[in-house]
């Protein structure tokens, strides 16, 4: 798992991941790129990350992937990420395509629901919590 301040260098990351697994005998490599779209007059999105729990979340996914003969990788941005640049990339490598296609779907969807990352719109230089697009994590409301 890799965290960066500001937008991701997508080409460098995917190229390096490809090189890292060049001799691993995986038949399938499925990358996913999340790009900030221009909408609602935002200048950028901005992110807070709670790394200790994100690392545990990722480590659990790595175990699930390994149980299916695959591996997962991800990188995410902290702070401001301007429109038309990338805040998030992930990938699955597996011996055959079926596992990779299924895992990238499950991995990215669970990432959206349970990775401890908070998103803000940046408008006129101000950060506004993207509450309407955010999802309560599993187990929310325990203290209510």
């Amino acid at each position: 798992m890799e965290l960066y301040n500001g937008p991701l260098d997508v080409k460098e990351i995917f190229s390096r991941w490809l090189d890292e697994e060049a001799e691993s005998n995986y038949g399938a490599y499925i990358p996913f790129v999340g790009t900030i779209r221009a909408e609602d007059n935002i200048e950028a999105l901005s992110f807070d990350i709670y790394e200790p729990i994100l690392q545990k979340w990722f480590d659990e996914w790595q175990e699930k992937a390994e149980a299916r003969g695959a591996i997962v990788k991800m990188a995410h941005a902290r702070g401001d990420v301007p429109v038309h640049t990338s805040s998030y990339v992930s990938a699955v490598f597996s011996p055959k395509r079926r596992v990779a296609l299924e895992l990238i779907d499950e991995f990215v969807e669970d990432f959206k629901a349970n990775a401890p990352i908070w998103k803000y719109d940046v408008k006129n230089g101000k950060r506004i919590y993207a509450e309407d697009r955010s999802t309560p994590m599993d187990g929310s409301g325990l203290l209510a």
Partner: protein, 73 residues
């Protein structure tokens, strides 16, 4: 004493309190009007492990984190 920290957009300074279980933490946080709109949608971690049980026993030095709704990517 245990410490309660509020992550992401909640924007509240950490609190220290006496609490034997997470139920005690819930009772204390409910007294705080700043938090009333957050608690029903926040998840909870104890020393960086997610927890789901109000009867979880706390010990001195424990750290409880309050995690509001997330949106990575």
């Amino acid at each position: 004493m245990i410490k309660v920290e509020f992550l992401g957009p909640i924007g509240k300074a950490p609190m220290e309190m006496e609490a034997a279980t997470l139920a005690d933490v819930a009772a204390k946080l409910k007294e705080d009007s700043e938090l009333s709109s957050w608690l029903d949608k926040c998840a909870v971690a104890l020393n960086d492990t997610m927890v789901n049980d109000l009867s979880t026993i706390l010990k001195a030095g424990d750290r409880v984190s309050i995690l509001p709704p997330v949106c990575g990517g």
